[in-house]
Homo-oligomer: 259 residues x 2
Amino acid sequence: MKTDAGRSAVLIGAGNVAAHLAPALQEAGFTISQVFSAQGKSAAALAKKTGAKAVRQLSALQPEATLYLIAVKDDAIGSLAKKLKIKKGLVVHTSGSVALDVLKPAGQPHGVLYPLQSLSKKRALDMQQVPLCIEASDKKTLKALKEIAQQLSQHVYPLDSKQRRAAHLAAIFANNFTNHFYAIAAELLSENKLPFDLLRPLILETAMKALDMPPAEAQTGPALRHDKQVMKRHLELLKKHPRWAELYALASKDIADTH
Amino acid sequence: MKTDAGRSAVLIGAGNVAAHLAPALQEAGFTISQVFSAQGKSAAALAKKTGAKAVRQLSALQPEATLYLIAVKDDAIGSLAKKLKIKKGLVVHTSGSVALDVLKPAGQPHGVLYPLQSLSKKRALDMQQVPLCIEASDKKTLKALKEIAQQLSQHVYPLDSKQRRAAHLAAIFANNFTNHFYAIAAELLSENKLPFDLLRPLILETAMKALDMPPAEAQTGPALRHDKQVMKRHLELLKKHPRWAELYALASKDIADTH
């Protein structure tokens, strides 16, 4: 397969991130030429959608492309990069937490394109609104990666490795832990025969507020007010869930001390 | 002031909750006749807005009204109820955590109308979409309160005291703690010279997902994947913030054990 006719992208991985970046790359004028996945099924589906060829062997990857986009699990990126036999192409991974230089063994200019968003195949998202954190092995590569990223999204942030790690850690708090707290709340409601619907407007408004003002300014609640009576009652209610009681006490202490 | 001409409401308190319920009551056909607040300024502003009379002395409250809506701080409700001299009217507080029977000393049918939402004067909200949790001293009062609540909102939930307390506790997780986690994330970004804008789309999408599917199903991240390497690195990054490291470890442990 030749790439002379324009820019081509090879997708390595066919999960949530690849599924969202593929159509964005196509809109930016890329041809998706191959989709690799060791699990054939997801690669076949994404390949069909994008008009690419599904590939189940790394050895079958074409030796040249504009972009090799590695969107596999964090702990598989390094070993995969070692196996790549690429003659020419920009090699990029999409992880928030994996170091840039695990891509060095690929022997090509390399970088990171980390979409700071929760991507799942089930939910449509406008990639133009997704913050893309980029990083590259050298200035020339950064320039090339930035040009591509800016075609995919209106919000491109060149970060260094330390900043990317901090952004990823911040995302753990803003997404993983908040979502887990939604789940705790859902369980507390369910134990009392109450529907989760009761909390959905509050969850949405809490997030909407964060779009409007610094979250520290929006803080409310018994911990902020140092309302010890209410907090004590809540801890009693959480007797059956000692770890949630611990989380409650710790988060409340931190809120009280911060404000 | 007579109430024969229609339904009248007396607002006791002129904070965020009163400011949001007042226009909703007016739209439901209530006349706001008085607004009480010990701090004259906020009462005067809300009274002006609603065409009511501002009152700074409890003794100046009219003896009869359809509804006395107590929307003051949690720990002030009980002592205030003892001082009320009402001849006729439904006395209601709006707190998630205060018991119903602190209103008993008012000597009138009483209830709770707890809006399960984060209300602030700065942000407009459609009260029709705000879940209202109601509770009352007896069946007849519950019926009357339900009728009023259903005119204010499309989402009215009659709860008992235990359920209301659970809903309030769940709201602490879904609002107070998530908002604090946004603030932690903002600080982590700021320490690395990164703008909070980087996280806003993720925060919104995380909340939007919870409108669509049970949060437990939407869970992602290193704790879910039991990715010990990433978690270890994150804890190192949090060295300067021992309590956030503790929160990180505890939340991660809970996610790992839940899934």
